[in-house]
């Protein structure tokens, strides 16, 4: 019965979709077969100290985790761990998992008030901003024994000098992901200015958040990525405005889809995500421009509004379990600050200059620092103005003329009606 139905359905589909099926389905199905032959290695999970995790069993505790999109392994690929389920089963704590797309969105949601999250994962500059504004609370590191795995390089960084507020989750760089079949330029010759190259008009994607977008413009202009100089910020905004007419879309994680499907040719994005996209689309390449880039660290924090601090600490500790940290890093492709997870990675990945650049290369990278309130307000205003700037292509006079015409029509009709009403009286 079921089989028949399936047959019938596929028959129906194949006849109806005749047209689009004709267009190159052969190559795709070949790929699918190859993928199917790949061996799936089931990942296992061993927890050293299981007792630690059983404290809240049966207490009906819930925690709210707020994370970036595509930033955790939830068993979407075969053989990988579903981390949230593992955590729930191990501890009996229910996880409400939601996602955000940019640091600024996270900030807005928390700043608005009335929400309580227990674990959030902001980036460096946002962490220092949140520490300054008292939005995150100190973590009791005694509750996070797995903190011992965090590499020394990622302890006591500038955004959290005493390492009281955050536990590093990932780090990475920003670079350019591009279609190698169309853009025939040697990788070492690619620099940020390719994003302004009019040959690729309407094929360029751009960051949809002010900090990352301004950073690129600031590198181009030779300014510091942490500049607070109003004139420099304005110049950067001007540069971004110039770029606007050749930008196809301002996106964040939509980039997975657009680059994966070949809807665009070039985009700046985070290295880890770029590697993930390249897994799907072999035509793509990724390069970190030599003229400099941003080095970021994303770390787990506990907001002040958290009501389940200990459970939150348990979650953070769980995320630092070697097997879990490995599963995450293996799936999301970012670089890990976790020594045990790093050791579990393939040789190939560990030597990949994109994921783990040498110290020499790191010299050219800048870590974002929290800007002063004034500077970040300026940046946000400039950003909104840039985004709202008129397209050159739409004609300016059309709208006013149309509005005036509408207004005139309204007046004429009102007057006519007025006259008619008067007539009716007589």
């Amino acid at each position: 019965m079921m089989k028949n139905k399936k047959k019938y359905l596929s028959l129906l589909l194949s006849t109806v979709l005749f047209a689009s099926m004709l267009s190159g389905c052969a190559s795709d199905s070949d790929n699918a077969e190859e993928e199917g032959e790949e061996e799936v290695v089931e990942q296992t999970l061993t927890i050293a100290d299981e007792d630690y995790y059983t404290r809240f069993k049966g207490d009906d505790v819930e925690i709210n985790v707020y994370n970036w999109g595509e930033y955790i392994c939830i068993g979407e690929e075969e053989g990988t761990l579903d981390i949230l389920t593992e955590f729930e089963e191990l501890t009996g704590i229910k996880v409400n998992y939601t996602t955000f797309a940019t640091n600024e969105e996270l900030y807005a949601k928390l700043k608005g008030g009335g929400v309580s999250y227990d674990v959030i994962i902001p980036s460096d500059y946002m962490i220092s901003k949140m520490i300054k504004e008292d939005m995150v609370q100190k973590i009791d590191m005694n509750n996070i024994p797995n903190y011992k795995y965090i590499m020394d390089d990622f302890r006591n960084l500038e955004y959290d000098p005493q390492n009281e507020y955050s536990v590093p989750y990932t780090w990475g760089t920003v670079g350019i992901i591009y279609d190698t079949t169309v853009i025939d330029v040697a990788p070492e010759d690619i620099d940020w200015d390719i994003l302004w190259n009019e040959d690729y008009a309407d094929q360029i994607l751009m960051f949809d958040n002010p900090r990352d977008a301004f950073a690129i413009a600031e590198i181009m202009l030779g300014y510091s990525l942490n500049t607070e100089n109003e004139k420099e910020l304005e110049e950067a905004a001007e540069l971004l405005k110039d770029q606007k007419k050749i930008v196809q879309a301002y996106v964040m994680d939509e980039i997975f889809d657009k680059m994966g499907a070949g809807d665009a040719l070039i985009a700046p994005y985070y290295a880890g995500d770029a590697l993930m996209i390249m897994d799907e689309n072999e035509d793509l390449g990724f390069v970190v421009p030599k003229s400099g880039t941003n080095l970021f660290v994303d770390a787990m924090c506990i907001p002040t509004s958290s009501k389940q601090k200990e459970a939150a600490e348990m979650f953070i500790n769980f995320m630092c379990e070697p097997d879990i940290a490995y599963a995450n890093i293996d799936y999301i492709c970012y670089s890990t600050p976790h020594s045990a997870a790093y050791d579990m990675l393939d040789e190939e990945v560990r030597n990949d200059p994109v994921s783990y650049p040498s110290d020499e290369v790191k010299e050219h990278m800048t870590v974002f620092v929290n800007l002063s309130d004034e500077a970040s307000k300026t940046m946000q205003d400039l950003w909104t103005q840039m985004k709202s700037a008129e397209d050159e292509t739409t004609s300016r006079w059309l709208m006013p003329v149309f509005l005036v015409a509408c207004l005139l029509a309204v007046i004429v009709i009102l007057i006519r009606r007025h006259i008619k009403n008067k007539k009716d009286i007589f």
């Binding site: 596929s10 979709l17 689009s20 795709d28 009335g114 929400v115 499907a261």
Partner: protein, 270 residues
């Protein structure tokens, strides 16, 4: 003229259905591609049913829609009865304010509720989540209930209620036996409208939801902003099928009652 109308009708139908048709077709696609169909599979449906986030937000959506539409129906029915017995000026004022959530853009309603909740959150121990969502949903549902009931009063003889009381009914009995049956069709259609609006609402929920109790539209929104998986297509297909089935059943029932009524009236005349 008539033929032209039919052709136009067909053209618009193609415009309305083509995108949905494409969505449905690609829910059976073997690969993730959204433009090339490479083979038939039901994998995405299986994945969908194992996606905990989608399932839990579906449950949330249904719970909120049910509770919100029940409360708003009760609130709205009582309100309609009360408003109907008001004098002209207060009646006009109340009805105008009631219309506000309908006339105002959704985003303004959402933002205004958000500001209210933020204000309360700072002073009382209120948290964005189930409660705020429920309040918001009730607020935008009640006006629809009232709007569905008010016309029924126009068709009703205003003296019936008094007559019932004169004949010895208590006010409550008079309400139950006289008014309620008269406005019942309006109450039911109001309830259904509230329920569907509540199921479907995105904008207002977006501004009033918190860290817990995500509704399905919010989950769909965050899905469209990430790496898109054909699970969305599978979900669309299921939603579409449910809608089609519900509407067909509703139509059949309506036709049947209409026929029965017609037959009954016909019989009475004979």
């Amino acid at each position: 003229m008539k033929r032209l109308g039919k052709i136009w009708f067909a053209v618009v139908l193609v415009f309305l259905y083509a995108p949905i048709f494409v969505l449905i077709v690609f829910s059976f696609n073997e690969t993730k591609s959204r433009s090339v169909f490479s083979g038939f599979t039901l994998d995405w449906y299986e994945k969908l049913f194992h996606n905990k986030i989608i399932i839990s937000s579906l449950i949330n959506t249904i719970i909120i829609a049910v509770i919100a539409s029940i409360i708003s129906t009760i609130l709205g029915t009582l309100a309609a009865i009360g408003i109907n017995s008001m004098r002209k000026v207060p009646k006009a004022v109340v009805l105008n304010i009631t219309n506000m959530p309908i006339i105002n853009p959704e985003i303004v309603t959402g933002v205004s509720m958000m500001l209210l909740f933020v204000f309360f959150a700072a002073r009382m121990n209120l948290e964005f989540g189930f409660v705020t969502l429920l309040i918001a949903h009730i607020t935008f549902n009640v006006p629809y209930v009232i709007l569905n009931i008010m016309p029924k009063f126009k068709q009703m003889d205003p003296h019936l209620y008094e007559a019932a009381q004169d004949l010895g009914c208590s006010p409550f009995q008079a309400f139950r036996k006289v008014i309620l049956p008269e406005i019942m069709p309006g109450v039911i259609s109001g309830f259904l409208m509230a329920f569907t609006y509540s199921l479907d609402d995105f904008v207002i929920s977006y501004f009033t939801s918190g860290s817990t109790s995500q509704t399905l539209p919010i989950t769909i929104y965050s899905m469209t902003r990430r790496k898109v998986s054909p699970e969305i297509n599978a979900l669309s297909t299921i939603i579409f099928l449910v809608v089609v089935i519900v509407l067909i059943v509703k139509n059949v029932i309506e036709n049947r009652t209409a026929k029965r009524n017609a037959a009954y009236k016909g019989g009475a005349r004979e």
